[in-house]
């Protein structure tokens, strides 16, 4: 579904990704793991056209590296950004409706209503609290709302950035269960997580990023057994181990 070749991304004069090649097949959950600053979020932002980049990005056999961010949503790529980025003074329902901002007209209105029901079915709590201001909800509820809002755009590929960040372990379990449910419904997901253990629980495959390059890839099960990954997960650079030998 998504193929990335030799992708470079820049923040000013700083190179944040230096030649990343990876892919995601339809219906897969793929995790991107690595220490803080490894380039995980940058990769999501580069896919979405939010940072300056160079390289090849193919989505559903179409070259999209030059397609602007707002048009990518229409093509079927939705991102749930780190820190949720909700509209705090707006209600839950308004936030969700904003997720469908690309759709207009009478038919669209009916479709949006259907999609709202689907999101409410997935997250019954959001239905209960549809009138509540987003900013007053708990971290876990906000994360659900952020995912729900992304789903309102009817994405084919969902990019999830650190959905477990700042959440209590029990809430993290809940979010992971939601991700698994989305996969069961056929959604394709690229999941960025610093919490490697959590990510590898739901993903089938993963890529390990270290300072802007992929250094390992494989099935989630194999990577969970990898001692290097444990170290990457702990946020420690692996070089200190090899050089100390």
């Amino acid at each position: 579904m998504l193929k990335i070749r030799n992708l470079y991304a820049y923040y000013g004069s700083v190179t944040a990704l230096s030649g990343v090649t990876c892919h995601i097949k339809e219906g897969e959950i793929v995790a991107l793991i690595g220490a803080n600053g490894a380039g995980k979020t940058t990769l999501l932002n580069a896919i979405c056209g939010l940072v300056r980049k160079k390289g090849e990005v193919t989505f559903l056999d179409r070259e999209v590296s030059r397609v602007p961010a707002e048009r990518l949503v229409g093509l079927g790529i939705s991102q749930v950004p780190e820190g949720r980025q909700l509209f705090a003074p707006m209600t839950v329902r308004e936030n969700l409706e904003l997720g469908a901002y690309l759709r207009h007209g009478r038919q669209a209105k009916a479709d949006i209503a259907d999609d709202l029901e689907r999101v409410f079915h997935l997250f019954p709590k959001l239905k209960e609290r549809q009138g509540q201001l987003a900013g007053t909800m708990s971290g876990g509820e906000q994360q659900m709302l952020a995912i729900g809002r992304a789903l309102m755009a009817r994405p084919k590929l969902l990019l999830l950035d650190e959905p477990s960040l700042g959440l209590a372990p029990l809430v993290v379990e809940n979010i992971l269960a939601t991700i698994s449910r989305l996969k069961a419904e056929g959604m394709t997901i690229l999941l960025v997580e610093q919490n490697a253990r959590a990510a590898l629980k739901v993903a089938a495959r993963a890529y390990v990023l270290e300072t802007g390059r992929i250094i390992l890839s494989g099935s989630a099960r194999d990577l969970l057994a990898d001692r290097n990954v444990t170290r990457a997960y702990l946020g420690r650079d692996y070089k200190e181990f090899t050089e100390g030998r």
Binding site: G19, Y207, N228, K239
Partner: protein, 419 residues
């Protein structure tokens, strides 16, 4: 097919998978192995220099001598505490070549072996008997573990005499024999002597490994033992027998190109040759964690065939092993480098190496190394017993170090054979 998603992968998907694995292998090798970092730096390259598979040709080649120079752990890419297996294979000197496996490497190795057995038509219902000499210890271990992983009932290689092996084969109702081509022929001659017929055995398959299998020999074994024959190719430095394996269509060896990148080069110039042309097989690992190898020269002569195979696998095929590009010779599958052999002879003879020659001879299907030594003054004794003792010492030394059988002859007026 064990893993159709990889064994029958489309060429486009394979290309992308190889590229992403290659780039991560290069990054790991460059960051974690000083030797590769130095090599790439000297060539003015970085891991980022490889943006397409064709760029592999720009990377420096790695030889067995490089492995030897970094004995024992210099080319490991993970800390020693992450290594779960350390294996050795004979090198060009008395220093063995050392290969390390991390946890995931062991898993990959088993999965590749399961691919091999599945392609050979072996299932968990089979009784698999290994008849592999101790000199091929790595093949023994690999093929035993693979058959067990598959769930078959495995009779490990023993050091029984061949008549006993055949008794076990008959009484235990072995359905798959795993051995080398020379040993298969030897077993046939022992069966003949014992008056044992194939009808008394339950064999349906023979997996023949570790040595080339000429067509005529294949036919002979197939007809005499009344079995289907399967083959495999592997080298110890690159994960052993699962590297490439035959299929029911019997057209060469499918190369596990999702985990190893193959190239065929002109051994003299190093230039990459197009598919179909014969040259030396060069391998780059794409998935191994502990011991990445960049463009490792196998020394084996073959060609790549990219045509689709009627078995349904899309993995490219090696057309067969057509010989060596270097001086290494095979004695019943055991690889012997002339320099190593000379060093062993010198050791056994107390430091003096007279004029000598050697060749591989066949005895009842078995391959034996025949060594002729010139009876020079330094070795001479007028006691027959002393001369016999000398031959025995050399024979035992070769047996101890290489695990192979040899005949040592002392000859007067021997001309040295250039090898």
């Amino acid at each position: 097919m064990r893993q159709p998603e990889f064994e029958a992968i489309s060429p486009e998907e394979l290309e992308l998978l190889q590229l992403e694995r290659l780039q991560s292998t290069l990054t790991r090798a460059y960051r974690q192995v000083k030797f590769y970092r130095r090599r790439l730096d000297e060539a003015g390259l970085t891991p980022e220099s490889v943006q397409a598979l064709a760029d592999v040709a720009r990377l420096p080649l790695t030889t067995r001598e490089d492995l030897s120079e970094h004995y024992p752990y210099g080319l490991f890419a993970v800390p020693l505490k992450d290594i779960v297996r350390i294996i050795s294979s004979p090198g060009t000197t008395d220093r063995p070549l050392v290969v390390g496996y991390a946890n995931q490497d062991v898993k990959l190795w088993l999965e590749l072996l399961a691919r091999l057995y599945t392609a050979a038509g072996v299932t968990s219902e089979d009784i698999v008997q290994l008849v592999i000499p101790p000199g091929l210890a790595n093949w023994r271990r690999d093929l035993m573990a693979g058959a067990e992983y598959l769930g078959a009932s495995v009779i490990p290689a023993a050091t029984l005499n061949f008549a006993k092996e055949l008794m076990v084969m008959r009484d235990y109702k072995t359905s798959v024999l795993v051995t080398t081509p020379p040993l298969a022929r030897h077993l046939i001659s022992v069966m003949d002597r014992m008056g044992l017929t194939p009808a008394e055995l339950s064999l349906r398959k023979a997996l023949l490994v570790a040595a080339p299998l000429p067509f005529a020999v294949r036919r002979e074994i197939e007809d005499t033992l009344r079995v289907d024959i399967a083959t495999a190719y592997g080298i110890t430095e690159v994960m052993g027998p699962g590297l490439a394996y035959g299929c029911a269509a019997s057209q060469g060896f499918h190369f596990s190109a999702d985990h190893f990148y193959p190239e065929i080069i002109d051994p003299a110039t190093g230039a990459v040759l197009p598919p179909g042309e014969e040259g030396e097989l060069v391998i780059t690992t794409l998935s191994t964690v502990a011991f990445p190898l960049l463009r490792f020269r196998s020394g084996d002569k073959t060609a790549l065939n990219q045509d689709p195979c009627s078995c349904g696998r899309t993995l490219p095929r090696l057309t067969g092993i057509l010989g060596r590009v270097d001086a290494i010779c095979s004695v019943g599958g055991i690889k012997v480098h002339p320099d190593h052999l000379r060093a062993l002879l010198r050791e056994a003879l107390g430091g003096h190496l007279p004029r000598h020659s050697w060749r591989v001879v066949e005895e009842e299907g078995l391959e034996v190394l025949e060594v002729n030594l010139a009876l020079e003054e330094a070795l001479f004794s007028d006691e027959v017993k002393a001369l016999e003792g000398l031959c025995q010492r050399v024979r035992r030394h070769l047996q101890d170090h290489l695990g192979l059988a040899s005949h040592i002859n002392l000859k007067e007026g021997l001309e040295e054979e250039k090898r």
